[in-house]
Amino acid sequence: MIPAGRRGWSLVRPWSLALVVTLIAMTSPVDAQTLTVRAVADALHVRASGLGFISGPVLDRLQDGRSVRVDFDLIVLEKPNGAVVSRAQQSFNLSFDLWEQRFAVTRIGPMPRSISHLTARAAEDWCLDNVTVPVASLGRTGRDTPFWVRVEYRIPERSANAPAEDSTFTLHTLIDVLSRRREDENKAKSVEAGPFRLGN
């Protein structure tokens, strides 16, 4: 005879397992780092969800009234980690309007463009929307063959705060270094996705 408790456990376990697997699948980091591409007026634009760089220490810095520079790199690849077909680099300057409580972004370069009164998400999207690759630079790629896209952003370390590459570490500085990890994660990120075709 099977004890009641034992029978109950054996009945519940497959459901528990399925529930756990489902929950893990739902909360796993597959999340949000997805890319979509579209061609608008002979330029390839990219949208990336979950790239969110206006958070953590970057957000703190902006809310302190300081500005933050972000360097973007948009790379079109033949295949995952493959040869570079085309590339665009663009830098932006972000600041946070202390009285409007909204973000302002300026595209840095010979033809600067600016925008203000943006939410954090809208500011991120605006940056990415202003990093484009000419469709013509892709050649046959994209129409005849699929391509992959990698988006990288980097928030340059300010010289004054550059970590001292010092061998004089103490327990205290070790704790500092370990606690800085999350901050470093925020300073650069790369997302790659594909395959895409221009017809997509």
Binding site: L98, I115, N161, A162, T170, L174
Partner: protein, 504 residues
């Protein structure tokens, strides 16, 4: 500064109205608005609702809050512009209202930071007393009040503040002021470890494994503040830096600010129990000129350091050691020396994340009769280290020369062939009792945490043969951890040495 130019232009255009007034004062709240102008933007760009709002202002009593709200709505509809309101009093008591609109990207300061359109309400210094800043600099800081924040001027002031207080990093922060459109500017000082005139003695904490020599451990626990501290140190069978393997404790008291940042003092008291490897004991037996091994070592080292510049330090002190004989306890010898040392340490932060650092030092230890030393000797050691980093790439070059004359105790003798020097060689094979001459160099390249190195050097006795040794290796290499395989390049047989460990 095109916005400023635009503002000036508008002011010039308004000159006739201004001239008509006896005093250039702003109109009072409630004055009837005679006319409303929009400068820098076509009315057609605005929504019909906002256009109507502007039109209905004429003839209404002046309400500054309402006008500010309209300016904010203009900015909301046109996100690439900033809008400000200008009021002009008319001789008949009425008011003229002008909305000044400019594109953000036409104004360098707004491109840099949108908040520079606001008026500076106050300037504060945090982190150090105001009195620590010169009067002239404080006056220049206060001159920012009442104007739009001039980034160039603020950056220049930040630079001057850092120049006046070289031990600090200055951050410029801004926050909301007490009323809308006003901001507070804060220059926040924080002490920068790397630029202190006198740094604390580097931690010696490490746990290291060497496939030929076994485990070595050292743990430093520093306690205290930014200027004074106490370090308790523990050694666990440490054979990684000297001929001897030693365990024990040490306590160091340090102050790097004795009335001034340029003067520091330190005293260390250490007591270690020593054990010796067989090759070392054989080598000592074979060469009676080398002083004998000891069972315990008690050392007291007081010193004073003066820094003439932030990059140069001169240290003077004494090292008093009592060495209890290994063969004839409780007999002991004193090894007492005057210590003089010069250090140079400077870093450069360049563009594109390039960092360079040069460290150089020369140390002279010489026994003195006045100190009643049983061992008479003089020891010289000069070293140079250069480090170049650019993002994930790092190159490190080391060079050292040393020489001893007289009878130096074993802890003063030079060794090579451990986890940091002549990696791939075993010091107990090269010179088991150490040497009185040393030359050491290494070149290391790292990409992220992967590195390769080439070591070259020699340790020998003045009356013996000098043999030049080379080694190379690769592995995971970081400032705080390593895991490497190293090979002697000019040995008779290929012997791979594995080392790993952490330093912190």
């Amino acid at each position: 500064m095109r916005l400023l130019s635009l503002l000036l232009l508008v002011l010039v255009l308004l000159a006739p109205w201004q001239a008509a007034r006896a005093q250039d004062v702003e109109p009072r709240d409630g004055a009837i608005i005679e006319s409303v102008d929009l400068s820098g933007l076509s009315r057609d760009s605005l929504s019909p609702g906002l256009r109507r709002e502007l039109e209905t202002l004429t003839g209404e009593p002046l309400n500054r809050e309402r006008l500010m709200e309209i300016a904010a709505r203009i900015e909301g509809e046109q996100p690439d512009v900033v809008a400000a309101v200008r009021y002009v009093a008319r001789p008949d008591g009425q008011a003229r209202v002008i909305f000044l609109v400019a594109r953000i990207s036409d104004d360098d300061s707004l491109v840099e930071n949108i908040n520079t359109r606001y008026i500076v309400e106050s300037v504060e210094i945090q982190g150090i007393p105001d009195a620590d800043i010169s009067r002239s600099l404080r006056d220049r800081l206060q001159a920012l009040v009442g104007k739009r924040l001039d980034h160039d001027e603020a950056d220049e002031l930040k630079r001057l503040l850092e120049a006046e207080r070289p031990g600090y990093t200055v951050e410029r922060r801004i926050s909301r002021g007490s009323e809308r459109g006003r901001i507070r500017v804060v220059f926040e000082f924080s002490e920068k470890e790397g630029t202190r005139w006198i740094p604390f003695t580097p931690s010696r904490s490490k746990f290291v494994y060497h496939s030929e020599q076994g485990w070595s451990g050292a743990l430093d626990i520093p306690m205290g503040g930014r200027s004074h501290r106490v370090t308790a140190g523990f050694m666990f069978s440490n054979n990684d830096d000297l001929v001897e393997e030693y365990s024990g404790v040490r306590v160091a008291f340090e102050s790097r600010k004795l009335a001034t940042d340029r003067l520091g003092a330190r005293i260390e008291i250490a007591r270690f129990n020593d054990t010796w490897r067989e090759p070392t004991l054989f080598a000592l037996a074979a060469d009676p000129a080398i002083p004998e091994a000891y069972r315990t070592r008690l050392t007291i080292e007081p010193s004073v350091t003066f820094a003439p510049t932030p990059y140069v330090r001169v240290t003077g002190g004494v090292s008093l050691s009592e060495l209890e004989s290994l063969m004839h306890p409780p007999d002991s010898q004193n090894a007492n020396a005057v210590v003089t040392r010069i250090d140079y340490d400077q870093r450069w932060y360049g563009s594109r994340d390039v960092t360079q650092r040069v460290e150089a030092s020369y140390e002279l230890r010489t026994s003195a009769e006045a100190l009643e030393s049983d061992l008479s000797y003089t020891r010289h050691l000069a070293s140079l280290r250069y480090r170049y980093s650019q993002r994930h790439n790092t190159v490190i070059a080391n060079l050292a020369f040393g020489g001893i004359s007289g009878n130096a105790p074993l802890f003063e003798r030079f060794t090579l062939g451990d986890s940091t020097t002549l990696r791939g060689w075993n010091k107990f094979d090269i010179a088991p009792a150490g040497g009185d001459r040393v030359f050491n160099s290494s070149l290391e390249y790292r990409y992220r945490f992967v590195g390769a190195f080439l070591d070259a050097g020699s340790v020998w006795n003045n009356n013996g043969e000098m043999r030049f040794r080379l080694s190379s290796g690769f592995g995971l290499q970081g400032d705080n951890g390593f895991l490497t395989l190293a090979f002697p390049l000019n040995a008779e047989d290929l012997n791979v040495t594995f080392t790993m460990g952490v330093r912190f």
